[in-house]
């Protein structure tokens, strides 16, 4: 309509859009009346339209989404619970089973107890019934449970070729091998078996059977680190046989020349146990005195009362000049060979501490018959002969054990034998080579030419758990079962026979290496059964051991009891001691001309001779001295480093003859000037995901024809190399001279020390701090049990068994080098190492550090969500499900023992290593596996406390402090750690807390920690 009137203004406006409208054409009005133009709505006939309007459609859409969402989840469901089909009789879910077995981590064959949960081995501890290791096991043994679940294990036999490996089955292997062996044997060609140390009498019989069947077979047994040199020297000095064991606990004075007997040499666990009897804070026994003369700092050197630095090639001269001096003073009949220098001249030439040497000489003389001089196994034979003579001169032979001796089942192959073997291989006279769980391509010095010779052998196989450098050059790689899946018996000590039993059925298609040889020795490809080696051992025992044991039991009971105990001890008489051959001294060759720099290659403290390179736990174990993880390096003294302008993380090139290699530099206080020390076993080319490429290969510097020994090269050339390499340590390396850091541990009361003399004269010399300080926190009353721990610093040698035991028990993740660099290592328990004194001759301290479970913990009152609280039995509780990851608690902790999970190390970290199938089986089901964003720390093994409480309730008695052993306490070989009920006045922990030497770390912060340390006493002469 025409709105010709605008009402408000009264004016007359006429609006029109077209001429038609203006002319009041009725067509225009029609158009206005219709909303749409004609024809537009034709397609939208109501009858043709969908019955669902837009509104309805949207409503239906939202409703269906809601329904779909709610029906897709079955959120009522709690999952399923799956019991057994046929429950094995021994398994009660929730209760662990213990099995006695033997560890073959090294050649010491310690007795172990394997703890299994629902059939899965999860923890290894020492067997208390074994008379040698007495319930303790080292870090390598603790971590051996990881090797079982290693994802890089070979699962089936493989044929190796350039294109890749192809799986074959055992039937093909058996048939092929037996045919090949018979062919070789009948044509007179040699069958070489390259094995490690044979410690098992039954295994020896298997090899004998094999040789009986194939007469051209020969066994070459070698180990990178063994006592061959020591035994050869013993042969020269006394009689054929092995070097006797030493009664370390009866020794008042011990002089160790490069002998790392507390960490690496001989039976380290036994040595630590015996040595620490004379290092008792309670003075149950008089303190012994330890002198160590070595090239670089070692755990034994850290425990020493007096320490001298000397290059290893100079040790012979040192011993001879000692003999001169002592012989003169004691008018002994045994004389050092002529031409050796006097001690005074030697000490002056070598820049040794004259005062200390004088004490050494005087102590040896004063304690004749109760002292021992011990030479390290890597020193040359002449040094051992000289040391034997020195001990004989001083009457120290009294300390050689007669109740026990080492037993070697098969003598080691000598250099000559190996050279002959390589010669035969090159000539084509060796038809078959069987690598019996060994890796000679990596271990043996390169100038044997083994790798090239191996290529000429027509049929070479390797029997191993994981592929390595040797198997890469063989035709077949046969997977062998892990320790925990195998049978065995071991005899490394006179009269002590320990058994190894499988606790789990082989996870993969593997066979025991002894069983493989047995089946081939039978000549019948269908001979193999799962129980073939088990029956063989039983048979041997029945005929041999059982017969000589004259036991009143029948054999079956005897056998089952032996398996339950794990060890059988038969009294055996040691060979009568032979007389000393004085002529041995005259055979000593004069020491060779010393070059300026000596390269010393020695063993490492975590991965054996390199065979455990793929074990992440051992790689991440901090080195006991340097606290470096994941690498090896060259130890260089500060003076030598200055000479070449080297600093930490620089690279140094070491050249010996025509061989050279570049190593990262580690400036180690306490290294002899001119000595370069490198650890062997690293830099492997083929060792699984974790081990390949970790560290630098120092094995290539070895030579079989070295003038001194394959481990000592006194003509090394050093040069600064280009580049830098970041070494990652868990403990900051301040220079010792830095005034801010110098002796901080003493000023702040972290380490408190004294001397034995001081303590004897004045037991209260430590002037313990007053504990009655005011605190704004109410000190809670502890009724019932109050858990506390004590650590005797005199006994701790820094062996790291406790750290590994804690890791395995508490599912602590391995984080890798990058994260450790950022300070994110996850070890709950760490061993701190402090130096004091000068950079040349430092004094070292090792201190285990873990959550102190403080009574007035600074971490507890700052948590915004109360995730960490205090329990009524004295523990500082950490509740993972409540933690939101503020990290205020770690900020507040003065001991810095709280570890934060910056990543989900379990599931989504980096390469997802932990997600691979068997790795997860190692977790302890009683301990939560932490996820990202959660703080964790030592819990005093609360799962063990709860288990003990459960046992006590089941037996209807009260829980006692002695019922619980924490993982670290159980693992410590020297019993440095004690744990128990502080409210019980008779417990040993109460005695620790009341001890005159007992102190707490950082006590002035009023945190009231519950770990009492006993101050470290050095047994040094009172300085006039």
């Amino acid at each position: 309509m025409n709105n010709s009137k605008n009402e408000s203004s009264g004016k007359d406006y006429n609006y029109w859009r077209s001429l038609k409208e203006l002319n009041n054409n009725p067509e225009a009005f029609d158009q206005k009346a219709n909303e749409f133009m004609k024809g537009v709505t034709d397609d939208f006939e109501i009858s043709g339209m969908s019955p669902v309007s837009r509104r309805k459609f949207l409503a239906l859409l939202s409703a269906s989404v809601a329904f779909a969402a709610s029906s897709c989840t079955n959120y009522h469901s709690h999952g399923e619970i799956i019991p057994y089909n046929k429950k094995p009789e021994e398994v009660t879910p929730g209760i662990p089973n213990l099995y006695a077995s033997t560890c073959t981590g090294c050649s010491n064959a310690c007795g172990i107890l394997i703890k299994t949960r629902e059939g899965r081995p999860i923890k290894v501890d020492g067997n208390p019934d074994h008379p040698v290791n007495k319930g303790k096991i080292c870090a390598i043994g603790q971590a051996s449970v990881i090797n079982l679940y290693d994802p890089n294990r070979l699962k089936t036999p493989v044929a190796i070729s350039q294109e890749g490996n192809s799986s074959i089955n055992w039937k093909t292997v058996d048939e092929g091998m037996i045919a090949e062996l018979e062919k070789a044997s009948s044509s007179g060609k040699q069958i070489a078996i390259i094995s490690g140390r044979i410690s098992s009498p039954s295994e020896k019989m298997v090899l004998d059977n094999f040789i009986a069947k194939y007469p051209t077979a020969r066994v070459y047994s070698y180990e990178l680190f063994e006592n061959g040199v020591r035994n050869a020297a013993w042969n020269r000095s006394y009689a054929p046989g092995s070097f006797p064991l030493i009664q370390w606990d009866q020794a008042k004075v011990i002089v160790s020349l490069e002998g790392d007997f507390l960490a690496n040499e001989g039976h380290a666990i036994e040595n630590i146990q015996m040595f620490s009897k004379g290092r008792d804070g309670f003075l149950n026994k008089d303190f012994n005195r330890l002198y160590v003369v070595e090239a670089t700092m070692t755990p034994t050197g850290m425990a020493a009362d007096y320490r001298l630095r000397l290059k290893p090639d100079r040790q012979l001269d040192f011993v001879l000049s000692l003999m001169n001096e002592i012989g003169e003073r004691t008018k002994s009949s045994i004389k050092a060979p002529s031409g050796t220098s006097s001690l005074k001249d030697f000490v002056k030439n070598e820049n040794m501490l004259a005062g200390t040497v004088e004490h050494l000489v005087q102590d040896l003389i004063d304690n004749r018959g109760s002292a021992i001089v011990y030479a390290g196994s890597l020193l040359p034979e002449d040094v051992h002969v000289a040391v034997n003579a020195l001990n004989e001169m001083l009457g120290n032979t009294r300390l050689y054990r007669t109740d026990q001796a080492e037993v070697l089942q098969i003598p080691f192959a000598q250099k000559q034998d190996l050279e002959n073997l390589v010669g035969e291989m090159n000539k084509g006279n060796v038809q078959v080579i069987i690598h019996y769980d060994t890796n000679p391509i990596f271990d043996l010095p390169q100038d044997y030419g083994y790798a090239d010779a191996l290529k000429k052998v027509p049929f070479s196989i390797a029997m191993l758990e994981q592929e390595n450098e040797t198997s890469a050059l063989c035709r077949y790689a046969l997977p062998i079962s892990h320790d925990f899946e195998s049978w065995g018996d071991f005899n490394t000590r006179m009269g002590i026979f320990s058994l190894r039993q499988p606790v789990i059925y082989p996870l993969y298609s593997t066979r025991q290496k002894e069983a493989i040889l047995l089946s081939w020795a039978s000549g019948d490809s269908k001979f193999y059964k799962d129980t073939v080696y088990h029956d063989f051992i039983m048979n041997n025992w029945e005929k041999g051991l059982f017969a000589s044991a004259k036991s009143p039991l029948d054999f079956r009971t005897f056998w089952l009891t032996a398996l339950e105990n794990g060890v059988v001890v038969l009294p055996e008489n040691a060979p009568a001691p032979a007389g000393f051959k004085a002529a041995s001294l005259s055979e000593i060759k004069p020491p060779s001309k010393a070059g300026r720099y000596t390269l010393y290659l020695k063993g490492n403290y975590s991965i054996g001779d390199g065979r455990y390179a793929n074990n992440g736990f051992l790689q991440e174990l901090p080195h006991p001295v340097t606290k470096v993880v994941w690498d090896n390096y060259a130890f260089i003294s500060p003076k030598t480093a200055e000479e070449f302008g080297l600093e930490m993380n620089d690279m140094v090139e070491v050249k010996v003859g025509s061989r050279k290699q570049e190593f990262p530099v580690f400036i180690q206080p306490g290294t002899a000037d001119g000595a370069v020390v490198v650890e062997l076993g690293y830099g492997r080319r083929k060792a699984g995901e974790v081990g390949t490429g970790t560290g630098v290969n120092a094995n290539i510097l070895m030579s079989k024809d070295a003038p001194v020994t394959p481990f000592i090269y006194n003509d090394a050339q050093i040069r600064k190399a280009s580049g830098a390499y970041k070494l990652v340590t868990t403990q900051e390396q301040h220079t010792i001279e830095d005034t801010r850091a110098k002796d901080a541990h003493k000023r702040r009361g972290i380490i408190r020390e004294g001397t034995v003399d001081e303590y004897k004269k004045n037991p209260g010399f430590l002037e313990k701090e007053e504990r009655e300080k005011i605190s704004m926190n109410k000190n809670p009353e502890y009724l019932g049990v109050k858990w506390a721990m004590g650590i005797d610093l005199n006994k701790c040698v820094g062996c790291n068994a406790c750290v590994t035991a804690c890791d395995i028990e508490n599912n602590v993740p391995v984080v890798g080098k990058e994260q450790v660099d950022k300070g994110r290592i996850m070890h709950w328990f760490r061993v701190d190492r402090y130096y004091s004194g000068t950079a040349e001759d430092p004094v070292s301290y090792t201190q285990p550090m873990l959550c102190q479970h403080c009574d007035t913990a600074p971490c507890e009152n700052v948590c915004p969500v109360a995730a960490t609280t205090h329990s009524p039995d004295g523990l500082n509780q950490m509740v993972y499900n409540r933690c939101v990851g503020t990290r205020y608690c770690s900020n507040n902790c003065p001991y810095k023992v709280r570890r934060f999970n910056f990543f989900n190390f379990r599931d989504h970290f980096a390469d997802g290593y932990y997600l691979q199938e068997p790795v997860e089986m190692v977790y302890n089901p009683e301990v939560t596996v932490r996820s990202r964003g959660v703080m964790e720390k030592c819990t005093f093994c609360v799962q063990r406390i709860m288990q003990a409480r459960e046992n006590a309730i089941e037996e209807n008695r009260e829980l006692k402090g002695s019922d619980v052993q924490t993982a670290c306490q159980q693992a410590c070989p020297s019993e440095a750690i004690v744990f128990g009920d502080a409210n019980d006045p008779d417990s040993i922990i109460s005695k620790f807390r009341a001890h005159n030497l007992g102190y707490h770390v950082l006590v002035d912060l009023n945190t009231r920690p519950n770990i009492t340390y006993l101050a470290k006493l050095r047994n040094i002469h009172p300085e006039v």
């Binding site: 959120y75 009522h76 469901s77 709690h78 999952g79 399923e80 619970i81 799956i82 019991p83 057994y84 089909n85 046929k86 429950k87 009660t92 879910p93 929730g94 209760i95 609280t869 205090h870 329990s871 009524p872 039995d873 523990l875 509780q877 509740v879 993972y880 499900n881 409540r882 009683e926 301990v927 939560t928 819990t939 609360v942 799962q943 709860m946 409480r949 459960e950 309730i953 089941e954 209807n956």
Partner: protein
């Protein structure tokens, strides 16, 4: 002439009379509905699913009087009470009622070497380390927490297992467990259950 009062309908009127009650009703009903609908998911009370094999506790534990611990052997020994394995059932059912369809189903499981996938009813989160043997050995009856199982044809959850329920019993042990003499109070610190 009658004068009618015209009440002006303001916005406030409308809000108070219509929208406010409506809003309050919607909020209240959604809270109440969510509370009850989510109860099974929150604390599981009432959840009684059908199991793969129609095992009746009423028959075995009730009428026949078999002790709980004959089958649930771990109850007084370890942390887990354990569902019995098929071999435990076959102890009797290799002979008893062999012809019944459920037993035939059971025997098939046994012969196929497959475990029975029971639907789990009583469950606490993984970060709670509940220990059965401690409770059973102190004399607490199974029925206290699991209800009168011996009268159930199909097992359903009778009690809530939220933490407040556990703490309630721990804190008021004498009232909650009158049939035990000298009952000790349960631990109330975190580490008792949350390691």
């Amino acid at each position: 002439m009658k004068k009618t009062l015209l009440v002006k309908k303001t916005v406030l009127d409308y809000t108070l009379k219509v929208r406010l009650p409506l809003t309050i009703f919607v909020i209240l009903s959604s809270i109440v509905l969510t509370y009850f609908i989510s109860r099974p998911e929150r604390d599981g009370v009432g959840y009684g699913p059908t199991q793969p094999v129609n095992f009746s506790h009423k028959l075995h534990a009730g009428s026949m009087g078999i002790d709980c611990r004959y089958c649930h052997t771990g109850a007084d020994k370890s942390r887990h009470a354990m569902i019995p394995s098929v071999s435990t059932c076959m102890n009797c059912h290799s002979v008893a009622r062999k012809d019944r369809p459920e037993i035939i189903k059971l025997t098939k499981f046994y012969e196929d070497n497959k475990p029975i996938p029971w639907k789990r009813i009583h469950r606490v989160p993984d970060f709670v380390y509940f220990n059965h043997s401690v409770h059973v050995n102190r004399g607490i009856k199974c029925q206290t927490c699991h209800g009168q199982v011996q009268n159930m044809e199909v097992v359903a959850q009778m009690n809530t297992f939220v933490m407040s329920a556990c703490l309630n019993c721990h804190r008021n042990a004498p009232q909650m467990l009158p049939y035990i003499n000298n009952v000790k109070y349960g631990p109330q610190n975190c580490f008792a259950c949350h390691r």
